[in-house]
């Protein structure tokens, strides 16, 4: 049962082969039994989950047929949940209980889903390995010596280990796609503004995007149907119509023009990954797609630009955590400055402090033009690159990461090499585009992810392409042995 997709579980529920309470209990049992090893959850909401499941069962009895009714899932601990701790992986918010729900939490609640708990993550979504959590690192279910990727490492590991059918996640520079790739699952980062950011704790507001971690593209489509849409409480959410993302999943790929950027297949790419991507391309050719070589000449600038813009926004977004109104406050402050300094020094972890300092520096008088403004110009160039490419192709495909999951501790003292592992994902955030990572193979028993990138609001097309691939392959159906 735990290996089934949302679509399959919905069928089980609607035909009364299992109740939501039973299904929920099954996943709660798995979490209790298996998560000690993985550490993918920060909070498990057993009681609430069973209540919601019972409610879903009675709604079903009353005739409700929502495809998500009674489906258990997990929320990344970055989404505010009323009455339940929302820590954002930080000591700073270890005591924080939001008096409101994030919009996407409300949407999923209204669709009838059951909240199993809140998943572990890099502190304030800053990291690519989930080693930066106040609650300790998350392990990769395929090899528990390895990282699951980050920042949505908890969501990815939990879905990969079948502790939940699906989870929400967020992606600022690759935080959905990279852990999805490293854990062998499907991770969707929609277009910037497609899902409301209201109640989602901000890291870098102009890049942050909510999305999903699922087993399949079909499940991503089902979840996106519930989460996408304009929200008047988020001025940056976009008011364009939301299609039914499941309707076009089986559309033909005949004549689909797929762009392969040469910058994504150059130096630094693991050869097994390169081979797996080439093999996947063959499958697409078999499905009728045309492969076209393209260029994204400014890809190399995306990391430096990102590491100016994201820290700049973070330095300002995280200024509110000052020990005054909520969150961590140091013991016995002697004066205001002491209160600020110690609350923030003790409340934030190392990587968060590093980025606050970088951000403060690049926004400072005398440096603003050289860093922040220049980075914005690069951002514009990168968007232009994609816009040019999408004149020739419908979607772009490449590896999600240059290498598979690395060992815990391997890069934790080398931030730059850690930052470089996001080389293929970051440009997509800078351009605000949708991207999805799907599993396409293994290297030494570790999953390989392939990234599909499309123009703004092309989620339906991306999920269609991903789904058609998943119908003729079974990489997405593999489960790590220890968790089967």
């Amino acid at each position: 049962m735990h290996n089934k997709t949302i679509a399959q579980l919905a069928n089980e529920l609607s035909t009364n082969r299992i109740s939501s309470v039973e299904l929920t209990q099954l996943f709660l049992d798995r979490i209790n039994r298996l998560d000690n090893t993985l550490n993918s959850f920060i909070t498990i909401t057993t009681e609430k989950a069973l209540q919601e499941a019972a409610k879903a069962d009675s709604l079903r009895a009353a005739g409700n047929t929502n495809p998500l009714l009674g489906i258990p899932l997990a929320q990344k601990d970055i989404f505010c949940t009323q009455g339940i701790k929302t820590s954002c992986g930080s000591r700073m918010l270890d005591n924080f209980i939001a008096p409101y729900d994030a919009t996407s939490v409300i949407q999923l609640q209204q669709a009838g889903t059951v909240l199993l708990g809140k998943t572990n993550m890099d502190e304030f979504a800053m990291g690519s390995s989930n080693e930066n959590s106040y609650y300790g690192p998350v392990k990769n279910p395929w090899d528990t010596r390895c990282v699951p990727g980050g920042s949505s490492g908890g969501s990815a590991a939990a879905v990969a280990a079948r502790l939940t059918p699906a989870a929400t996640a967020t992606d600022t520079g690759g935080s959905i796609r990279q852990p999805a790739a490293l854990c062998g699952i499907t991770g969707l980062k929609p277009t910037y503004g497609r899902i409301s950011r209201y109640g989602m704790i901000a890291f870098a507001s102009s890049l942050d995007q909510a999305g999903t971690m699922t087993k399949t593209a079909e499940d991503a489509a089902i979840l996106l149907n519930a989460m996408a849409g304009f929200d008047e409480r988020d001025s940056t959410s976009v008011n364009t119509p939301v299609p039914d993302y499941t309707a076009s999943l089986n559309d033909s790929l005949q004549g689909l023009r797929i762009g392969m950027p040469k910058e994504f297949f150059g130096e630094g790419l693991n050869s097994d990954i390169a081979e797996a991507i080439q093999a996947a391309m063959k499958e697409y050719e078999n499905l009728g797609a045309k492969l076209i070589d393209i260029e994204l000449p400014n890809t190399g600038l995306s990391i430096p630009a990102y590491y100016v813009i994201a820290p700049a926004e973070c330095s300002s977004n995280l200024a509110r955590y000052d020990g005054v109104r909520y969150g961590y406050r140091c013991k016995n402050p002697v004066n205001l400055e002491d209160l600020y300094k110690r609350s923030r020094s003790e409340g934030f972890g190392k990587e968060v402090k590093r980025r606050i300092m970088i951000g403060t520096y690049v926004l400072s008088a005398g440096f603003y033009d050289a860093y922040y403004l220049k980075a914005q110009k690069i951002r514009h160039l990168i968007s232009q690159d994609f816009a040019e490419a999408f004149k020739k192709v419908d979607i772009i495909i490449g590896p999600t990461t240059p290498s598979p999951a690395f060992a815990i501790g391997e890069k934790s003292n080398d931030p730059v090499s850690m930052y470089l592992s996001d080389i293929y994902t970051i440009a997509v955030n800078l351009a605000g585009l949708p991207g999805v990572s799907i599993p396409v193979g293994f290297t030494k028993n570790l999953p390989i992810g392939m990234q599909l990138i499309g123009p703004l609001f092309s989620e339906a097309r991306l999920l269609n392409a991903a789904h058609r691939y998943q119908k003729i392959t079974d990489w997405h159906a593999k489960t790590p042995e220890e968790f089967n």
Partner: protein, 477 residues
């Protein structure tokens, strides 16, 4: 040494929107601390600002009122600094691209001419909360009711050359925001706050001197005093070989002095950058046209009309247009008095204004209505009563004793214009004071006044002065 004073003003006008600039919390003044602050105002995690459209409309109004360009696209920026009453650790403001660009106000000078004061820009921003340092046993209390209240910061050019000009500009701006109904103008409650940038330079010098910024000047009177104090201080400093330091100084109205301010304003790098939570504010020509079509007649236009149509002096016109209610009152008086603008102006600015001041009430609450005052003036101009009698009727009106004609009737105050009655009164005076008549006829012309006085006394002031004069001259000749 002759010094020239250079003043620029920064005014923060609190906009009278019902809810805050980025949240739905109420903006009402005087509520219990922290009862009007929602999760947005408190800077909670994950919470996002949404711009109040009403604030935008009000900024457009101001822009049109100062003949400024309204930006088709303006940008909200974050001003970053730490302070306990600033919940997010930044203030949402506008920096490089404000909503209102260059404009101006024409102020009235003492000699009746006008001077154009340039306005550099006006931008929208949110207010911070308040830190309360008393009543907490050495600790600081924080009230976030004010956090997020919309402000329009209006920055002038350094175009003013005296404290008097600064006051004139400030009053003109004050009148404007109240005409536009975008700010209540209450300086005591801080809804209209002013900071003054003051510097001095030698007469004839083209470069500006080093300026200081004066804060905490919450009345027109204090603006004048603070500027004058600061000018004296700077002159004394320079003449004694010192140098003015660019700094922020706080005005202390009790001691009437300015002194350097320490704390949050000190040497901050605000690290402005565009707020990624808010899209650029786009304003269309249609929006501007819609606001323009709703604009009332503004003080400068009204002043000119009062001068042209009513023949008022620029000074009188300026006083009458200083607030909309007074101007409206005045125009009603003019109409009901059957077009007696000068007399109407004198009464509104004289008797009425004095009575209102004394009783400390607003013109909108005046016990004497504009129609009643107009009626009173009509009765003066048609010679029913004299000006002197009119004052006693005004008092009766103030005390709600009824309408003008009713009071005249009841008290028998109608002026004597009957020729026969006046002639016989004059005759009786000539009979009563033969000595004075003789002296007058012998050349002591000053005694004419004596006879006028006696006649007024005997008639209870009701006699028509012109007719009396004519009869006295005839009979005494």
């Amino acid at each position: 040494m002759e010094w020239e004073i250079v003043i620029g003003l920064e005014v923060h006008a609190q906009l009278v929107t019902k809810s805050k600039i980025f949240s739905g919390a109420s903006t009402a003044f005087g509520a219990d601390p922290n009862t009007q602050a929602c999760a947005i105002d408190l800077g909670f995690p994950g919470i996002l600002p949404v711009l109040n459209k009403e604030a935008t409309t009000m900024a457009i109004k101001l822009g049109l009122g100062i003949h400024a360009e309204i930006a088709a696209r303006s940008v909200f920026a974050r001003k970053n600094y730490f302070y306990p009453d600033l919940p997010k650790g930044y203030q949402i403001s506008q920096f490089e691209l404000p909503i209102v660009g260059k404009g101006y106000l024409d102020i009235l000078m003492e000699d009746g001419t006008t001077k154009r004061i340039g306005i550099t820009r006006a931008h929208l921003e949110e207010d911070a909360g308040k830190s309360l340092h008393e009543d907490f046993n050495g600790k600081t209390g924080i009230d976030l009711n004010r956090a997020g209240i919309p402000l329009l910061e209006i920055v002038s050019e350094p175009d003013m050359r005296s404290a008097k000009e600064a006051i004139a500009y400030l009053k003109a701006l004050h009148a404007l925001v109240r005409y536009l109904d975008i700010c209540d103008g209450n300086m005591q409650e801080g809804s209209f706050r002013c900071d003054a940038n003051v510097s001095i330079r030698k007469k004839g010098e083209t470069r500006y001197g080093t300026r200081t910024e004066l804060k905490n000047i919450n009345s027109f009177r204090f603006v004048e005093r603070a500027i004058n104090y600061e000018v004296e201080r700077q002159i004394a400093l320079i003449e004694n070989g010192g140098k003015v330091i660019q700094e922020t100084r706080l005005y202390d109205p009790n001691k009437n002095e300015t002194r350097p301010m320490r704390g949050k304003e000190e040497a901050n790098d605000y690290r402005y950058f565009p707020d990624p939570d808010l899209l650029p504010l786009v304003i269309t020509e249609e929006q501007i046209a819609a606001v323009r079509s709703q604009l009332p007649e503004l003080p400068q236009q009204k002043r000119q009309r009062f001068i042209d149509a009513y023949g008022l002096s620029p000074y009188d016109a300026n006083v009458l247009v200083s607030n909309r209610a007074t101007a409206t009152y005045f125009e009603t008086v003019v109409t009901t008095s059957n077009n007696q603008p000068k007399l109407s102006a004198n009464w509104v600015m004289g008797e009425l204004s004095a009575a209102l001041n004394k009783a400390n009430i607003e013109i909108t609450d005046s016990p004497v209505t504009a129609e009643q005052l107009g009626q009173l003036i009509l009765r003066i101009s048609d010679n029913t009563i004299s000006g002197k009698i009119a004052k006693s009727i005004f008092e009766a009106l103030w005390n709600k004793e009824g309408d003008v004609d009713h009071i005249i009737e009841k008290r028998g105050l109608k002026q004597v214009t009957d020729t026969g009655a006046i002639e016989s009164l004059v005759d009786s005076l000539i009979a009563k004071y033969p000595d004075k008549v003789a002296e007058y006829r012998a050349g002591k012309e000053k005694l004419f006044g004596f006879f006028v006085g006696q006649a007024m006394k005997e008639s209870g002031g009701k006699i028509n002065p012109q007719q009396l004069n004519e009869w006295l001259k005839k009979k005494l000749a």
